[in-house]
């Protein structure tokens, strides 16, 4: 009974927070941007937190999502639904190709290859001026209505993105708490053992990579509509690095961690960079300290402390070993 009450309370708090967010932040569009990157980080957590793969190239899919959406809206069909479908489909294709070339490599090596691919896609975007606008960026992305909803007002766009965000959270939750998700966790812990049981770990890793690319491109598409413009740095290594930082600071493997991490980083970046020119100094410093000390992420630690203070539960005393001792 008490547990249900607590859950309800938590849910209400979260709902209240999300509904009032655009009115608390300095501008509505900042709140929308926070959610967009939360979607990005959510998908990224599936890859890094649940599959154990660190990619420094996810800006590729964010950028593909953004540019494709923009190009479809401006040059093909002014329908956001179609644009997002095409964007995510294209990004799934790209992620399959990238995964094919790199997923077999062990952790560290995989990181470097994804970084190199990110740079490659950046240069392609930079040079292919006819398609992307080059370093000028792709301008004039309209805010077409999604069904009956006119997205021109910042508030309307926020609630639309909120809806997409909630759907994404549900999707991510479903994925990680499914048999598929359990295999991912298994192979994160010990890939050889998973392989020996008979799982095609390469296939699972590829699918996880593609899932995270899907979320990234969805976020990218929303970003294009939100900004009415796609800058070239959506494809940059800095963007890839940003989502890594957001996920890590937030707490990988928790789903809520990277979401909160993304929202916090986007908020602070916007808020602080107008005052402090050297925002990267602070971010880099916090990141270094966090990697050294609170590796599991800032939010899990905070929530853990809150849980201790507020949600203390009395556990029945357990004596004796949980499992029978094995003979040596």
């Amino acid at each position: 009974m008490k547990r249900n009450l607590r859950c309800c309370l938590l849910f209400c708090c979260i709902a209240a927070f999300l509904i009032t967010l655009p009115f608390i932040t300095p501008t509505r569009s900042l709140a929308t941007e926070m959610l967009i990157f939360a979607i990005f980080a959510l998908g990224f957590d599936v890859l890094i937190g649940y599959t154990g793969l660190l990619s420094f190239g996810h800006a590729i899919f964010f950028g593909i999502g953004a540019y494709t959406t923009g190009i479809v809206l401006v040059r093909l069909v002014p329908s956001l639904f179609v644009a997002l479908i095409v964007a995510t489909a294209l990004s799934l294709l790209a992620s399959y190709v990238v995964a094919f070339l790199s997923i077999r490599k062990k952790g560290i090596y995989f990181v470097m290859i994804t970084l190199a691919f990110c740079q490659m896609f950046y240069f392609i975007g930079f040079k292919w001026t006819d398609l992307t606008g080059g370093d000028s960026g792709f301008h004039g992305v309209p805010r077409t209505s999604f069904g009956p909803v006119d997205l021109n007002s910042e508030t309307a766009l926020y609630f639309f993105v909120l809806a997409v965000f909630l759907l994404s959270v549900l999707l991510a939750f479903r994925i990680v708490n499914s048999p598929f998700g359990r295999v991912l966790k298994a192979l994160k812990e010990n890939e050889d053992r998973a392989k020996s049981i008979g799982y095609n770990t390469t296939a699972f890793k590829t699918i996880a990579f593609m899932i995270s690319a899907f979320f990234a491109s969805l976020a990218g598409g929303l970003y294009a509509v939100h900004s009415n413009f796609v800058p070239i740095d959506t494809l940059s290594i800095e963007t890839s690095g940003d989502v890594v930082i957001m996920a890590l600071l937030g707490g990988i493997g928790t789903l809520y961690g990277p979401v909160l991490g993304a929202m916090t980083v986007v908020f602070l970046k916007n808020f602080l960079s107008s005052w402090v020119g050297n925002w990267n100094l602070i971010l880099g410093g916090i990141f270094v300290v966090s990697v050294l000390t609170v590796r599991q992420g800032i939010f899990p630690v905070i929530f853990g402390k809150i849980k201790e203070k507020i949600w203390v539960r009395k556990q029945p005393q357990r004596t004796g070993p949980e499992y029978p001792k094995r003979p040596l």
């Binding site: 190199a116 240069f123 050294l292």
Partner: protein, 292 residues
């Protein structure tokens, strides 16, 4: 587009390749021994250039002094970083150290922006090395030949160090199995620090050499980092010969690409990398241990 022009470009490619050789040597040694992918490697290169700037322009006017001191200074910084920060993460999965160095890269780069202003610093060719040398079929700037020469000497020195000295053999053994080396009673942690210092020093040396030729800006490190990674991927992680050959290939590829095929010049390197990954996934000389 005469022979002279092509000759000059080939030599320019060698010069650029030299930077990649020094950088990837350092990166490879650090990875080979410590298992750490040093994202801050480009930043160490940048620190080398700024150290040279400080020594040359703020204190004495002597480039040779800078050439001697700056790499040692950067090496010392590397050793400090290893012993205070990197060392703490050896017991956890490797990618945490990667992330640590990534955070350091952001922090140090911004720090240099604060200390030295974001505007780049001027750095002229040292007067004793100015001018061109007549190589018979073409003229080539003396300083660039100097870069190639210094890199060659350095690479030879590193090879001799690793192959012929006692510490070198400990390092080579530690690269294979550091626990075993430790079990034999050798203080492996000091060796780790030394190796990180050598890697950092090599990066710093590249930075000093690059200062008169490249722009000395806080961003110079991050822009060269990705290509350095490509060199290591192509040459093979942990392999010295791979770093050398990979570095020279990438240097030539970039230089010739920019001159002869500008539209795709930047992407050429990555396409080449993708091709190598398909054909020889370990790189030219990669060792099995690091991939499977």
């Amino acid at each position: 587009m005469g022979l002279q022009f092509i000759g000059v470009q080939l030599f320019n490619g060698l010069m650029l390749g030299s930077f990649y050789v020094l950088l990837s040597l350092g990166l490879s040694i650090i990875f080979g021994m410590l298992g750490v992918v040093n994202f801050a490697h480009g930043t160490l290169y940048m620190l080398g250039a700024y150290a040279a700037y400080t020594i040359c322009y703020v204190f004495s006017q002597n480039f040779w002094l800078a050439l001697a001191i700056a790499p040692l200074a950067v090496g010392a910084i590397g050793m400090i970083v290893e012993s205070t920060l990197v060392r703490r993460l050896y017991s956890v999965p490797h990618f945490y150290n990667l992330l640590l160095t990534f955070g350091l890269m952001l922090f140090l780069e911004e720090g240099i922006r604060v200390v030295f202003t974001p505007i780049g610093k001027p750095f002229g060719t040292p007067p004793s090395l100015a001018g061109s040398v007549d190589l018979g079929f073409m003229f080539f700037p003396k300083y660039r030949l100097f870069i190639i020469l210094v890199t060659a000497i350095c690479t030879l020195a590193i090879w001799l160090f690793l192959a012929r000295t006692k510490i070198g053999s400990i390092i080579r053994a530690g690269t294979d199995d550091s626990e075993m080396v430790s079990a034999l009673g050798i203080d492996i942690s000091k060796i780790f620090t030394l190796v990180f210092g050598i890697g950092a020093g090599l990066a710093g040396l590249a930075g000093v050499l690059a200062a008169p030729v490249q722009n000395v800006t806080p961003e110079m490190g991050s822009s060269i980092l990705t290509e350095t990674f490509v060199v290591v991927i192509i040459g093979g992680m942990g392999s010295i010969l791979g770093s050398i050959i990979g570095g020279l290939i990438i240097g030539e590829l970039i230089t010739l690409g920019v001159v002869f095929w500008p539209p795709v010049a930047n992407t050429l390197v990555f396409v080449f990398m993708a091709a190598i990954l398909l054909v020889r996934p370990r790189g030219f000389f990669g060792r099995a241990k690091f991939f499977e």
